[in-house]
Subunit: 131 residues, 2 copies
């Protein structure tokens, strides 16, 4: 372990990669690293409170099952709240908690990065595959 790399001093304190062997990172990725969580968070963060069907429409390709599961997990982790109104027809609204909003900010950065570098990644992949 030779910390000879320059300009990474701010990392050593919290060690982004493995402060605890990577457990916290892994735990986090296990929640938001799945197929839909980040998109749900991003969508709610943009539009504010949304009901189930609206959410489903705004996230093309998601199944009822996966939307339900994703919402339950995020609710369980305190990233969003679920509010059911006793009406007919039933109405349920999902809304980000402050905790969820803070994660959304990172999600936005990740999305930005993805958009900014997608072409480069695609190019790199094509080149790699031709070799």
């Amino acid at each position: 372990m030779s910390p000879t790399h320059n300009g990474i001093t701010e990392l050593s304190s919290t060690c982004a990669a493995a402060p605890d062997g990577g457990r916290a990172v892994r735990e986090t990725l296990d929640r938001i690293g799945d197929k839909w969580s980040l998109l749900v968070i991003g969508t709610l963060g943009l539009s504010g409170p949304l009901r189930f069907t609206t959410l489903a429409r705004q996230i093309p390709g998601i199944s009822q099952r996966m939307l339900t599961l994703t919402l339950r997990h995020l609710e369980r982790d305190g990233l969003l709240t679920r509010t059911a109104y006793a009406e007919i027809p039933p109405r349920v609204e999902y809304e980000l908690t402050p905790l969820g909003e803070s994660l959304r900010d990172i999600a936005v950065e990740l999305a930005q990065w993805a958009n900014d570098n997608m072409d480069r990644i695609e190019a790199s992949r094509r080149e790699f595959d031709t070799l």
Copy 2:
């Protein structure tokens, strides 16, 4: 927003977290959202260039197979470089590209967030489970 979608679609540009319907986010998560990629990126970002075995030691729990696969994928996407030296015994060094380092910066933020909020998440989860 267009309610007509078929398969992998595009979402309106109104979604800050997913300007392209989440395709870029999904693509990115498909690379770094797996079990080991972020840890590899973080470790390389912290320690600088590392060889295979050193990397394996710094990431407890990873198997040879998964380390190899993860490195190949990251190399393919242009996030790190692989340099083999014709020596005996053989030596191979992995190093982040600038692109990889830019992603690492986001990984750091995510890790930070994870560390800062892990307790809150755990608490929320326990409460959710008791209800």
